[in-house]
């Protein structure tokens, strides 16, 4: 626990921007594809030329509704767009089309994975609204270069209540939100590519008090880790100021990832006045109940529900469920491997260790890094049926990841099938005992430890393929004499 945290409590709210998975921009027919040459995906509309007008993208609206449904928000049947005015070189119209008083989704919550033995915590949302992205400035020694390819790309801004109490919890919230956005195909939510971005509002207050402290806003956070580090830094900084008898200034800070510290961005005299007013170029956005119902019918099972189901039906621990559910494709993989398996926990462990390792080590997406889930299921069924040992299964899995061949074929090819034939094993055990009279005498004389030695010798003689249970039973009998 950082210094002062026994005395102070952090109050944290997050504003997350996520790029919606659309082909075209929010208000014009330009492509949203990543990686075009500078100003290659622009037109008069997203360049803010004189006289142009916005026309709303239907898909963006549906994705925002999806986000609202996924976050248990109320979908506004009637919302309007507003202009948010400020000057910046990457903002072509001098205003951003956003939503102010009437967002498309109100309220809602994101459920954090429960800690073992606790109830899951809910972080409430204030709102989710639609808005357009700005372009990009590239800073050079003698000025800046401006690229409008991102200008007009559709975003949802997801604003949380200040319900978060620690850096860890902020990280958990972001991971949960990330999973939701990806589960429901709302956004690919890649922080490193900028398709998910996060601003943080942090304040501290003495424990046991209700009144909110003065908050500072931290921008430019492009990884979960930076969000956590920046919050830790900022909370300590504020506590230090208060402990020294100082006052917190309401400011915007930039996170400096190299120095791992925040620094103030704009001075106070530049307090913003965005002059929001209703966008006269767009009619009110009406979302009829049947659209909400239609979107609802296409929603997949969301991470929180899935987590609960894994704990309930598969008796996984909350931790295990959380690891599996974090990425939809991993959880889908797990479930696709399950048919015919009795031991779900073992399957979960397998996915959490072997499958995730394969992804990590190959640095490839799941579909390329690991065998088809049905083949993994088949391999695990062979373990359950004691046709192969767990170690043999690991060997086979590693080979399958590389070759792409099926479980049966790989086990056969590598000769990994386990021998359970008692007669064959008995014969080997007899030979081993015969070859080691000295050890036999010592064992029978009371050195029980030597049992392991005989098991090892027998297993070695059988090339590791013998069923260990059968070896154990037979040796016990035979050594007893």
């Amino acid at each position: 626990m950082a210094i002062g945290l026994e005395k102070y409590e952090a109050v944290i709210g997050l504003e997350v921007h996520a790029q919606l998975l659309t082909r075209s921009k929010l208000f014009c027919g330009c492509s949203t594809a990543f990686g075009a040459p500078p100003n290659g995906n622009v037109c008069p509309v997203c360049m803010g030329m004189p006289g142009v007008l916005p026309v709303l993208n239907r898909q963006a609206v549906e994705l925002a509704v999806r986000a609202g449904i996924a976050a248990h928000s109320e979908i506004a049947p009637h919302s309007i767009f507003d202009r948010k005015s400020y000057f910046y070189p990457d903002l072509p119209k001098g205003y951003q089309i956003s939503q102010y008083e009437t967002p498309v989704c109100k309220g809602g919550y994101v459920e954090l994975p429960a800690k073992d033995g606790e109830e899951p915590k809910r972080i409430r949302l204030v709102r989710i609204h639609l808005e357009e992205d700005a372009g990009k400035n590239i800073h050079e020694a003698d000025g800046s270069l401006v690229d409008f390819n991102r200008s007009g790309v559709p975003l949802v801004e997801i604003v949380s209540e200040p319900d978060i109490r620690s850096a860890d919890e902020a990280g958990a919230y972001l991971r949960a939100l990330h999973a939701i956005l990806r589960y429901a195909d709302i956004s690919d939510a890649r922080m490193e590519e900028g398709s998910m971005r996060c601003d943080v509002n942090v304040s501290v207050r003495p424990r046991g008090t209700e009144k909110l402290g003065v908050k500072s806003e931290i921008k430019n956070l492009n990884s979960f880790r930076f969000v956590e580090k920046a919050i830790e830094f900022e909370v300590s900084r504020q506590i230090e100021i208060l402990e020294a008898g100082g006052k917190i200034a309401q400011e915007t800070h930039l996170w400096d990832p190299v120095r791992e510290e925040t620094r103030p961005m704009r001075s106070k005299e530049f307090a913003h006045d965005y002059r929001y007013f209703p966008e006269p170029d767009l009619p009110p956005l009406r979302i009829p109940p049947d659209l909400v119902e239609a979107v609802k019918s296409t929603m997949p099972e969301m991470p929180a529900e899935r987590r609960a189901r894994y704990v309930r039906d598969y008796t996984l621990s909350p931790y295990e469920a959380d690891v599996l559910v974090a990425e939809r494709e991993v959880a889908d993989y797990f479930e696709a491997a399950l048919p015919g398996l009795k031991n779900r926990k073992a399957a979960a462990n397998w996915v959490m260790t072997e499958v995730l390792r394969a992804i990590r080590e190959s640095a490839k997406p799941l579909a390329e890094a690991a065998p088809k889930p049905a083949e993994t299921g088949s391999l695990l069924r062979m373990v359950e049926a004691q046709k192969i040992s767990l170690n043999a299964a690991k060997t086979a899995f590693a080979a399958m990841c590389k070759s792409g061949k099926g479980a049966e074929a790989t086990v056969a090819e590598l000769g990994l099938a386990q021998v359970s034939d008692e007669a064959a094993i008995a014969e080997v055990c007899d030979k081993v005992i015969a070859a080691h009279p000295k050890e036999l005498a010592e064992y029978r004389g009371g050195r029980d430890k030597l049992f392991g030695f005989f098991v090892g010798q027998a297993m070695k003689a059988m090339g590791g393929k013998a069923n260990p249970k059968v070896i154990n039973e037979l040796l016990k009998k035979k050594l007893a004499g």
Binding site: P37, P38, N39, V42, C43, V55, V146, M265
Partner: protein
Amino acid sequence: MAEKKISLEQVRHVARLARLEMSADDEARLQADMSSILAYVEKLNELDTTDVPPTAQVGEAGTPIRDDAVTNHPAPEEMLANAPARQGGFFKVPRIIE
């Protein structure tokens, strides 16, 4: 001199929001002009509008929404043709003040 509806300080603040450089003369003239217009506009306060909803738009919309299709073809040269300054495919601006 008639009562001013807006102070010089306010004029400067608004000019900063609107990004308009102004000389002292400009500020004084705008203070006078804006004051007389704002005084005229006071007339609206004769009306009780407590229960009146605002009108932001009139008319009727036709096709307020479009399908998610890429319909524009890249024409960066055309889009950059009016640029006051450019570098390659980028627009160029002087040093940015945060």
